[in-house]
């Protein structure tokens, strides 16, 4: 190979400046992305924060056009829907997550994992239509129908997060348990799941956060109700659904309350996500120090 005489790369200044220009462009894009989102957050916090009051949490909605009243029916409805939909979504999510973590390369587990990811992309309105067809047509509108729709949307998040949490448990911990002669299932319930508990709680919270703000499927299943929820077999209201009703209504007072509702909903979701983050972080630390 002939020796190449060393020479300066004359294009370097150009390339360097292209790089600088590119970095500038990327930074501008970040700013462009943040502006609308920050604009929205600002409104939710300002309008929502200023519209919040005690009666928002304690009172039923006032008749159309009148001031006052609150979202107590919707808040209670959401608080009822969360445990009910968890009863549908969490068993499927956690148990299938355990299976997938244990049987990583088995073909069936791969297929189930793929289907889980596909269902994760199911439009929420479709979940609503399915729950409508399965439950509302034979039994009528009810909190149960809404919970089935939300459970459908909840479990893929829980499945994948549970799987990740269990995979984080180091193999030697499991081997140590098995070395003591216990069967696999006992090792799972006594050793592995307690070690991964933070991760599984995270999975649950992410699942709840995923569905807490859903509106469209609830519109087709729980219908809405101006009263406090009584039986889970009756129509109820929910926070996002009532925000929608009030936002699309003609009254300023309604809009004000819709902002307050959005503020509360946003706070719930931020809180769940933040807690999930902190728990994941602590699980990571515990596992790496063990």
């Amino acid at each position: 190979m002939a020796s190449v005489p060393a020479r300066r790369d004359l294009t370097y200044p150009i390339r360097k400046n292209v790089g600088r220009l590119g970095s500038l462009l990327a930074t501008l894009c970040v700013v462009a992305a943040i502006i609308p989102l920050a604009y929205m957050l600002y409104y939710v916090l300002r309008q929502g924060g200023s519209s919040l009051s005690v009666s928002f949490f304690t009172k039923l909605p006032a008749p159309a056009g009148e001031t006052g009243g609150g979202f107590s029916n919707a808040i209670a409805g959401t608080l009822l829907l969360i445990p009910l939909s968890s009863m549908v979504g969490l068993p499927i999510g956690i148990l299938s997550g355990i299976y997938m973590a244990r049987s990583r390369n088995v073909g069936f587990a791969r297929a189930a994992r793929f289907v889980t990811d596909v269902i994760a992309g199911l439009p929420s309105i479709v979940a609503g239509v399915v729950a409508y067809a399965l439950i509302v047509i034979p039994f009528g509108f009810s909190a149960i129908a809404g919970s089935v729709a939300l459970g459908l949307l909840m479990f893929p998040t829980v499945t994948r997060a549970t799987e990740e949490a269990i995979k984080l448990v180091p193999a030697p911990i499991r081997e140590a348990a098995l070395a003591l002669g216990v069967p696999e299932w006992k090792a799972m319930f006594r050793i592995i799941l307690p070690t991964a508990v933070n991760g599984i709680v995270t999975a649950i919270m992410l699942g709840i956060a995923r569905v807490a703000g859903e509106t469209a499927p609830l519109y087709l299943t729980i219908l809405g109700s101006p009263n406090l929820p009584g039986s889970p077999l009756k129509p109820i209201h929910a926070l996002p659904l009532q925000i929608w009703n009030f936002a699309t209504g003609p009254y300023d007072e309604w809009h004000r309350q819709a902002w307050a509702g959005a503020f509360v909903l946003f706070a719930i979701i931020v809180l769940l996500n933040l807690l999930a983050r902190i728990l994941t972080y602590r699980l990571g630390k515990r596992v790496s120090s063990s």
Partner: protein
Amino acid sequence: MKDPYIPATFYDAALGSNVSVDGDSEADEFTVGGKRLRQLEPATIEGLRQLQEEADTVRAPSREPHALAGTANLGDRIFHWVTAGFAGLIIAVLLLIVVELTWQSRLSIARFGLSFITSSTWNTITNNFGGAPSILGTVYSSLLALLLAAPIALMVAIFLVELAPRWMRFPLGFFVELLAAVPSIVFGLWALLVLKPDLIAPHIEPWFIDHFGNVPMLSGLFTGYPIGLDIFTASIILSIMILPTIASISRDVMLAVPNNFRDAMLALGATRWETTWKIVVPYARSGIIGGIILGLGRAVGETMAVQMVIGNHQAIGPSLLRPGTTLAATIVSEFQDATSDMHRSALIELALILMLVAIVLNAVARLLVWRVAR
């Protein structure tokens, strides 16, 4: 290649096909010549498994057995079948969704057949239904949103992975992920009560009409009234909503690019920017495309935010400044007030179409993202 840490008898046993490996590299049990061994190191297991695979490929490729299906412990067998049952339930759920939606839309499928997709009539009085306005409206608004969001999202991901100072990465990344979790009703509320009345209707749309309304070629895109309840506003809010999704997935796949590649490129004298575009982006390409398709999937299925600002009008046309509809928006707007069984059946058929589109988009996207992640 023989591993010195594995006793020779293991090799003999393996090559003599007397070894059965239960499950994957996570399994802890082996049967060697009828004897069960437990508590092996993962490396040992992996080595044995590879040996067995070599042996198997010479003979006949065997299927990987389930980890616990064959063990003697009753509790383990129950545990295995219960968890596997729930995993199977997931597959059953998907089938149930498809079957149920098809069954509930049977009236409409039988009456309109394939013309449901091409027909643009939507008449609740004569009970004549066609999905074309919804389908085209979905395609139009989603693609427009993608066109606006994807380039910016990719740049945001590049900034987060390659350019941002270290202290900025975590908070900014968390912010992006959090935004991906904001419910669509909150976006819709903001679009309806702030974005539309404060910005789009009084400023942006009149500006479009003034400047492009009479330009040949472009005028078709900007005919109509600047009321703000139209395809344009829907596309804007959609693009804002899918941006965090695309950005966070692109960031994840770009983080998966091995640092050696970057270092090698930088060592050759490339700038950071060149490294990004010639090494990182091509390496992560299919994952980035996957992220974009997932964003498209989210835009296609988005309901509330779109329904609140798109105007909900069954019409087809190129103009951005006209009320339109999407599959999801039509369903949610009309479902409670469906006037007849045929009407309801047609709406459920729209849901079926929406689901099939979303499933295909998601399946393709996941496969693409997996290719990078692995």
